[in-house]
């Protein structure tokens, strides 16, 4: 129905956004210090070899030409070839996207499943012990950096209690249970800040809704309190919560890089760091485009979900 049309219309509208992302990604790298050719050729390379490598990689051409060339291949779905490993960028990303994707999904799912109920109960029993505890914990969640939380969990849950592996990753092919077992610590680490964020927003949003007239109506109808809160109030409080989840996913991308290092996960975060150190332009650009695309797609989903949660927001 109408949703498909909206999806198509909005998808077209993200093209210019992605084009700008591409331009910025390209320029940022060209204007940062370091030269991939010099690194590739080694310390004792003679000037002629450097010129040859530069020409082979197409880096001797003027910047606009390089950009258009890259863009043209991008439009055909070709992310280019790694300068360092000579493998297609798409292959490199495909190899590494699994851990990143799975840890992102478990983190968001866990954060929503824990954060929303905490926020709801905190609002419902406003000023009670759970409210105060939740809000105090959420301040901690914001204040402590991700890597510190990571080492704390490793110390407590792996080294002391022996519940989860210290680090490493198992692919989905090893079984969902094994995958989740390996992802438990990274998920707990990354989640804390999102649980805090989502709980706070859910609490504020619900507190506002609980003062609305229709909540009074629901009570006047003799509905049980849990129905008043979860059915009448929570759905009305959903839009801000969904927005913050969307923003959370975007922020998550940054957090994943650090967490993957702490837990030694072979994901995109590590690939990013390695490529940056080697000035592997095509790979970095490719990763930025994938992250950018994911971010735009999530925003689109969030926007469309508004119309589901609130019929007054028309799908424009």
């Amino acid at each position: 129905m109408a949703v498909a049309g909206v999806l198509l219309k909005r998808s077209v509208s993200v093209v210019p956004v992605l084009a700008v992302v591409a331009l910025i990604a390209f320029l940022l790298l060209r204007f940062s210090s370091g030269d991939p050719v010099a690194q590739l050729a080694g310390d004792n390379a003679d000037p002629a070899a450097i010129v040859a490598i530069r020409a082979r990689l197409g880096l001797d051409q003027p910047l606009p030409m390089q950009f258009l060339h890259w863009l043209w291949r991008l439009l055909q779905g070709d992310l280019g070839t790694s300068i360092v490993s000579n493998q297609p960028v798409s292959t490199l990303i495909a190899q590494r996207i699994g851990p990143t994707l799975s840890v992102s999904i478990t983190t968001i799912v866990f954060s929503v499943l824990v954060g929303v109920p905490i926020g709801v109960f905190a609002a419902w029993r406003r000023g009670g012990w759970l409210d105060r505890f939740a809000m105090w914990t959420s301040v901690t969640g914001f204040a402590v950096p991700t890597f510190a939380i990571g080492y704390f969990w490793i110390y407590l849950l792996s080294m002391q209690l022996g519940l989860f592996p210290v680090q490493g990753y198992a692919p989905l092919s090893a079984g969902l249970g094994v995958l989740l077992w390996h992802l438990a610590l990274p998920t707990l680490t990354l989640s804390l800040v999102y649980v805090a964020l989502i709980a706070r927003v859910a609490r504020t949003s619900l507190l506002e809704v609980l003062n609305e007239d229709f909540v009074r109506t629901a009570r006047a109808k003799g509905l049980p309190e849990r129905i008043v809160v979860f059915k009448h109030a929570l759905r009305n409080a959903a839009v801000p919560i969904v927005s913050i989840v969307g923003i959370g996913v975007a922020l998550l991308i940054g957090g994943v890089v650090v967490t993957e290092s702490v837990f030694n996960l072979p994901g995109l975060g590590r690939l990013t760091i390695d490529s940056v150190l080697a000035r592997d332009y095509p790979v970095i650009q490719g990763i930025i485009m994938v992250f950018g695309g994911a971010y735009v797609a999530i925003n689109l989903l969030v926007d469309i979900s508004y119309t589901f949660f609130d019929p007054r927001i028309s799908a424009q």
Partner: protein, 536 residues
Amino acid sequence: MSGAVLKVAGLTVELTHDADGRRIVRDIDVTVPRGQIVCVVGESGSGKSVTAFSVMGLLPQGLKPVAGSIKLLGEELIGATSDRMRELRGSRIGMIFQEPMTALNPVMTVREQLAELIEWHSEKRHPKAEVDKRVLAALEDMLLPNAAQMMHAYPHQLSGGQRQRVMIAMAMLLEPILLIADEPTTALDVTTQKQILVLIKDLVKRKNIGVLFITHDFGVVADIADQVVVMQKGVVVESGSADAVLKNPAQPYTRLLIESVPKGIRKSAEMRESSPAVLEVKALKMTYGHRGFFGRGRVTLAVKEAAFTLGRGEILGVVGESGSGKSTLARCVSRLMKPTGGQISLLGTDIARASNETLRPHRRYIQVVFQDPYRSLNPRLSVGQSLIEGVVNFGATPEAARARVATLLELVGMDTQILDRFPHEFSGGQRQRICIARALASEPQILIADEAVSALDVTVQAQVLKLFADLRSRLGLAMLFITHDLRVAGELCDRIMVMKSGEIVESGPTADIFGNPQHPYTQALFSAAPGRERFQ
């Protein structure tokens, strides 16, 4: 007494966290017999809503009944368990509220909101077809057109009157014996109000229920009440049959309330013939929305071809229901909005399409007072700051501004000592006086009052209307008085324009409009005015 559905006796409600144990209502007695409508009348703060919510067991946190009894068909409700109260709410006691837009859940369909009552008030599960049938029957019982389609609509897709009918259908779905109505028609247009009042009266007759009807409007009381209870500052000051109370009010406060109901008759014809025009509006047009790139967007014509002249010292009333375009007209004339077309000649300058830059020097001549005095004063600015801001803005020195502000406060009947106090320390009527003082600060020639007395209690309303009349004669101020209430317009205005769907359907001197309304719509407005038989 076997005939009483509800018997409230000696009810006293206190603030629990107040050291003095402040009593919100004291020793209230109200009895609602079967088949009758009992109106509880009072101004804001009189405790009428607290009384209603005590019966529902839904007092806000911090309020607690400390004495008295509330009996529903003989069953004591004070001290009843919260589970028992929950059972009674919705099934034995139905309730409807003032604002049907916000009282319905915006994200649930009408069907969902009615069906859950059936679901949560019985042990067994009901098949969907049976629930649908009962919901449909309840909606049809409220004379809703296309009830079958309306079941699947969301509240925002319905009109105000339809929403209130849905609310009543919901309250009546499980056939309660007591209906509590908290100002159910206050937010509705006068013609819709009439229909809802007729509907409630009819329900009482058909279903033999008791109704506790909370209102501030003696016009409404005159139309529907069998019994009247008058409340002031938390106590019952007078009660009795509607006829007795309306004809022979025993208490001075009741008399004051009844007298304050606007009668719509001009007391003194202060008509100024051929005063020079300060404002001339020609062919004013305002549309909302865009046609869009492909011309498929929706465009609403809010004001079509409005034309009128306002003379110095003249008060022109603009009367219409919601959606008639009267507020849009006011906003265009005050240039808070840029009209789509037409001319607005303010003291000889056309400001209709002027840019903000060229408009600035002219703004001081036209000022606006808004409906809600609670929201139109910045809560973080003291009264003095709010008032001085405008004066300084138009070039006065701070010392001169302070002197000017003192004069203004005297003009609107406020003490000049209040400058350092904040808006929340004042009552609604006082705040509206402050707003008026603020509007007068730039020495305007024209004052636009956009529903400026609609949110005020009736006795306060009468005082503010008197202030407007007074300001007009003292300052020669011209006024555009926007209101939904013909009776209020009649009290104050020299001439009246009646608007409907963006068009001025009738205009003329107040006496003519009241004496001999020509347009069928104007006639309909008159016949819908509450308490018409008794007060006119």
